[in-house]
């Protein structure tokens, strides 16, 4: 069994070490290193196809990386600490660890045949073994915290996009995750619905949730994120304080990207 590569930030909530991932001839991740401290918010920006979403899917092993390591809360994803060292985790074990990592998708991906409440309680009951009463109580609290109290019995199709995304956030939070991954959570929303979702995410950040957010919302990145990471061709080419990266990008590729983005927003 290959030994894990040395970690530079063993205390980090999430640490990614030399991550590689290819799809056939396409290189999606080309040696990514990233450490996220507990309670930090990382904004990940970059052109589409630059590997941002792949990074999120590799972190929770929806798409296992080809090589490199992912550590979440001191646990090496995809492996189990055995008596005689590390062994590869079974699918069931991977699922259990994946449940510690919440994920929110661009297109919400709520289960359309379930009510809002059923959407939220399904996994806590099935995966975490919560009783129905506990799961429902948690779900109601979460719905209230995302501003959707009273929508328990609605079906997703009866909600606006912004409301659906807030339900999706509540659904992920119901698993009591250590980390939340957001994959372009506002990109599919009408402009007037973006703010309500960003507000929910901001609240979550203020409560101390560790978050990795792939986004094109630069004002959100600047206001909420502790670190902004710029991705290009499967690599992190620039990382730093969001205001610094946004105002004085040191890399020409970052400058070009930000200018394109700016032109589109104006």
């Amino acid at each position: 069994m290959k030994m894990p590569a040395p970690r530079t930030s063993p205390q980090a909530m999430v640490e990614v070490v030399n991550l590689h991932k290819t799809y056939g001839p396409l290189t999606a991740l080309d040696g990514v290193d990233l450490a996220v401290e507990a309670g930090q918010v990382i904004a990940i920006v970059g052109a589409s196809g630059s590997g941002k979403s792949t990074l999120l899917r590799c972190i929770n092993f929806l798409d296992p990386p080809d090589s490199g390591d992912v550590w979440v809360d001191g646990h090496r994803m995809g492996f189990i600490e055995g008596g005689s060292g590390m062994r590869r985790a079974s699918d069931r074990e991977i699922r259990r660890h994946r449940a510690d990592i919440g994920m929110v998708f661009q297109h919400f991906n709520l289960f359309p045949h379930f009510t809002v409440l059923q959407n939220i309680i399904e996994a806590p009951m099935a995966v975490r073994g919560f009783s129905r009463a506990d799961a429902v109580a948690t779900a109601r609290e979460l719905l209230a915290s995302v501003g959707l109290a009273g929508k328990e019995e609605a079906f997703p199709t009866e909600l606006s996009g912004g409301q659906q995304q807030r339900v999706a956030i509540a659904r992920a939070l119901a698993m009591k995750p250590r980390v939340m991954l957001f994959d372009e959570p506002t990109s599919a929303l009408d402009p007037e619905l973006v703010d309500e979702v960003l507000r929910t995410m901001r609240n979550l950040a203020e409560k101390g949730m560790t978050m990795l957010v792939v986004t094109h919302e630069m004002s959100f990145a600047e206001d909420v994120a502790d670190t902004l990471v710029y991705f290009d061709k499967g690599k992190i080419v620039e990382a730093g304080k969001p205001s610094d990266v946004l105002r004085n990008p040191s890399q020409p590729r970052t400058q070009a990207f930000l200018q394109r983005l700016l032109r589109r927003t104006l």
Binding site: R95, R98, A99, F105, H107, N109, L110, P112, M175
Partner: protein, 221 residues
Amino acid sequence: MTLDFSILGTVWPALLRGTLVTVELTAAVLAVATPGGILVALLRGAPSRTLRTILATLSWICRGVPPLLLLFFVFFGLPVIGIKLPPLPSAVIAMSLYMSFYFGEVFRAGLNSVPAGQWKAAEALGLSPARTLIRIILPQTIPAALPPYISHATEILKGTALAAAVSVPELTSAAKQVFVVTFRPFEILIAAAAIYAILDSLLLVLQIYGERWAARRSAAR
């Protein structure tokens, strides 16, 4: 000629027994061929090329020969290699085999109609593949799969008449047995047809109910 349905007053117990056998046989075939069809649909998407080829060949054979031939094969053919089955189980096996491959096509289309994001979302929540299939994916195949499913189920219901060929006492053969002794084929066959029509309607009610269930949940997003 005048129709006189009073004959039904005497023969109804025989028709009722035939009806029960028909319902029983239809239910048994649906109970076997539905999971069979889901399995076929899932295996058709399996990564193993060999498996897919075997399945495609079996599907081609089972859908390409007359169902009656399959039934004869099970009832008369299998005893030659030491597997001797009574008429009713033989009919269930032959028809389930045949229908599993039809249902396989129905569920394949149904599964393809569910966006890949649904699998991903369930996976991200840590749900097992089996639970995801049963709780999340299959219910969402209903809008696409239910109409062809019910139309195939109607075929099964009518197709149970074939089982008469291996002396399963289902409705059509019961009707025949009754009219050859009463000499009232018209009245008795009309009565049998009416019973089939009622059973068909029950399947349609199921379809309407299922479509109504799905309508609120699959409105345009």
